[in-house]
């Protein structure tokens, strides 16, 4: 499989097929990161389209020193932030939803998934981004700090706060032994 750098060189040389390969390689990660932050299937696809268009238009700016995945994650995070700011589509756990879900009867059940999604969407954006990059994409602290252009200590403290908020939101629903 060709590396991202090889593909980028081919794209800038005018090979449109190389861009398709690049999208195929990264679309799953990009869409899932956006979906984890917005909780909306269609919006995740729409924002991902904007991300790849931006990537295509700005490929000349990409310096081969950094990892391409770091760059594309950064664009995805910025696009999602702009979208959330514009649409104000924050998810909140309504009281009615709280009453319907009593406990984690089954971690993989639809209700639990729903509860986890809402809890993540409720997090402040800067905490949500770090949590998604760590838990969903399994990036290291160093990779997250490079993506967000911040210190490793900042990543650590944001992750600590994000998990504390999630614990307070989700643990009351946890039933021992499930």
């Amino acid at each position: 499989m060709k590396s991202d750098f090889d593909l980028i060189e081919e794209i800038t040389a005018g090979d449109a097929a190389a861009f398709r390969v690049l999208i195929e390689k990264h679309q799953k990660h990009v869409i899932n990161v956006i979906y984890s932050m917005t909780g909306q299937v269609q919006d995740a696809h729409d924002i991902a389209q904007e991300v790849f268009i931006k990537v295509y238009k700005n490929l000349a700016y990409f310096k081969m020193k950094a990892k391409f995945s770091t760059w594309i994650y950064r664009i995805a995070i910025n696009e999602t932030y702009n979208y959330i700011k514009k649409e104000k589509k924050h998810g909140f756990i309504k009281e009615s939803e709280r009453q319907n879900i009593k406990t984690f009867e089954n971690i993989e059940s639809r209700e639990t998934q729903e509860l986890v999604n809402k809890a993540i969407e409720k997090l402040p954006y800067k905490y949500r981004v770090v949590l998604v990059l760590k838990e969903i994409e399994d990036l290291s602290y160093k990779q997250i700090s490079e993506t967000l252009n911040c210190r490793i200590g900042t990543v650590e403290s944001r992750l600590f706060r994000a998990r504390n908020i999630l614990k307070k939101t989700l643990l009351p629903y946890y039933k021992e032994g499930c």
Partner: protein
């Protein structure tokens, strides 16, 4: 190791971002401290629940839709890559603007200074005309 240090490092521990020596000290503490162990279990549970979060099925038409949009945006079949010149212009424009403002401020300051000097000289000249009594 004390509870404070262990609790502070628990996130690093579950994320495997900790060196072997510290990990060993933490594990020794966790064997004997029920409170820290409870914190660890809560953290692991959180991780487990989030890791089970469903992955999104990608729309099969995603790439074809994207390619269609890119084709629509291309004028005369040319790519949209910004040239190095455009890039440089975008980067240097704010610097040039700042320089222009600075030059204007300096010119204005000099102009004001020369006005003050002119007024002073005029006064001196006028004072010479006043007859001494």
């Amino acid at each position: 190791m004390r509870c404070y240090s262990v609790k502070r490092l628990l996130n690093r521990y579950v994320d495997k971002e900790i060196d072997e020596t510290t990990k060993k000290f933490m594990e020794e503490h966790l064997k004997v401290c029920a409170l820290c162990k409870k914190e660890l279990e809560a953290l692991l549970l959180m991780k487990h629940v989030i890791s089970k979060k469903e992955k999104l099925e990608i729309d099969k038409n995603f790439i074809s839709l994207l390619e269609k949009r890119l084709m629509e945006e291309k004028p005369d079949n040319e790519t949209h890559y910004l040239t190095e010149m455009n890039y440089l212009a975008q980067r240097t424009a704010p610097v040039l603007l700042t320089l222009a403002v600075l030059v204007m401020i300096i010119i204005f300051a000099f102009y004001n200074d020369s006005q003050v000097m002119k007024d002073y000289m005029d006064n001196v000249f006028i004072s010479k005309d006043i007859p001494v009594l």
